[in-house]
Symmetry: C2
Subunit: 311 residues, 2 copies
């Protein structure tokens, strides 16, 4: 099993990626393909005593900056760590790809270098939501699909279910539809049309609508929504961590809004595992991302998604 890592992605590259790798190699067994500027990576690999047999370095002299235009950057910087990573992944030279770099470029690469899983209308990205009672839930889509059709939301529910079962370890995850009322028939046209699809869907454990007030409590394990609403919630939740930090409101609950803890989000619905980390990812987040990629390969999440979606 070969897992590729963009060593140049994120605010603290490549140092924090190296730290994550150091933690990972102690317990994980995948071979790591380290993509980036060799001159910057090699000294750190020695310094942090990463065993040579555990990795291969692939030199990529260019870097796509965090604020570059995704499509343009990917096209113009063919020798960037992200472009090289997708090339290696698409050509089968590695089995998964991880980056904390330019999110847009990672999404563009995922959508255009890789094939969607057969039967998938649109891939999706999710976020972990820390719940009041200490558990976590999954919210999706969080921005890849700003306009959605009911059939897409219905697929997000299935993909979220497989991910929650296989990777988050939730046996029979409760799926809810984000809405502005509890009863069937409430909401905007999208929610009204999605509800009956979810209700009839045999691949999920649908529990009905949830409202904004239910997002942070343990009512559902998976909340399905369009990428516009989901992205608003995700960024609002991220801002809570920052605001409470600035106001020095110290509480374990708000610490859990530190999205660095959760180790990135996979792009669900594409043929190979791609994990996108937060720009602020540190060592722990990188390690978690590698672990998620390993699990996705081991449990063959892609094949399970395929099976659930086409039957």
């Amino acid at each position: 099993m070969k897992i590729g890592i963009d060593m140049m992605g994120g605010d603290f590259a490549p140092l924090e990626a190296i730290k994550g790798i150091q933690h990972y190699v102690e317990e994980g067994n995948a071979h790591l393909v380290l993509i980036g500027d060799e001159d910057k990576i090699t000294p750190l690999l020695s310094e942090y005593n990463i065993p040579g047999e555990r990795y291969t370095v692939v030199h990529a002299p260019q870097v796509i900056g965090m604020h570059e235009h995704p499509t343009r950057a990917l096209k113009e910087k063919q020798q960037s760590s992200i472009a090289v990573g997708f090339h290696l992944l698409a050509s089968g030279k590695m089995d998964a790809f991880i980056s904390a770099g330019n999110t847009g470029a990672m999404l563009v690469g995922s959508l255009y270098s890789l094939k969607p899983i057969e039967g998938v209308l649109r891939p999706t990205i999710s976020t972990i939501i820390p719940k009041e009672n200490g558990s976590t839930g999954l919210l999706l889509d969080v921005g890849l699909n700003s306009d959605c059709k009911p059939e897409q939301l219905n697929q997000f529910a299935v993909m979220g279910t497989v991910y929650a079962q296989q990777i988050l370890g939730i046996d029979n995850p409760r799926v809810a539809l984000l809405n502005i009322g509890e009863e069937e028939g409430k909401g905007n046209l999208l929610a009204q049309a999605t509800y009956p699809l979810l209700k009839e869907n045999k691949h999920i454990n649908f529990i009905g609508n949830v409202e904004g007030r239910d997002v942070l409590i343990d009512k559902a394990d998976i909340i399905v929504c369009d990428g516009f609403s989901g992205n608003i919630i995700l960024k609002l939740a991220e801002s809570l961590f920052e605001i409470t930090g600035r106001k020095e409101i110290h509480h374990e609950y708000f610490d859990r809004f530190n999205f660095e803890n959760y180790g990135g989000t996979p792009v669900l619905g594409i043929s190979k595992p791609v994990i996108i980390g937060h720009g602020i990812s540190k060592g722990k987040a990188f390690k978690n991302m590698i672990v998620v990629a390993q699990k996705m390969i081991e449990k063959d999440v892609m094949e399970k998604l395929h099976t659930e979606l086409i039957n």
Copy 2:
């Protein structure tokens, strides 16, 4: 000036309404029309020493419960405080109507008993958002219009501006569009189509897009969005007050998420002031609602909305 109050609306009716009236009559000068069950109201009016010349009681023997179906309840309970209130308002026997009762019934009454202001495509409701720096902002729509057209959002921006200027005392309020990216052209189809309208709108001070992370910081005074997104944010914000309360996270910032403090939201775009309070409204909230209604009448907010929207 006559302001009508639904004495039977809210979780603590009619006692907390009476307490609000007691505070109001000390500083406000409107004549109050108290609508509800005479037998319940009259003893409290004596007990709280409300001067007889400041109010008129209108007996309404029925009550619409908080969970009744709005349209059905309004139709079947013609003698309810809400139905009687809208009848008095529509027939010109009073100048404004306030209730902390069934929100749905208040909205249905507003939309179907009263005329929209000439030129208004759809009335809207807003919420106050407490900002990190101590200021407050306005978010609209928060649920009256779950599917919106760009022209409606453009009008919400104007209505929010008039309200912020006249009632919240913000001179030249900064208007932003809720979106999932900062640049023009980002977002879902609605946001993409709304941006140019806001940019060209001479009646507002448009500052561009804001994201979920900006909702709680002081980047814009008014954030415009569809009622689905707005309602999700409103209810999520309300839940923060509840969660921090349950977790005993005491901080002035989260105290400000107690929506009881803000005294209800007007239905903007209809011909007369209607203020809808939270079901949990207590005395302070009732008093604030009466004050808002008085200001809306005094400053002739309806006429100003009309002028801004048709020019």
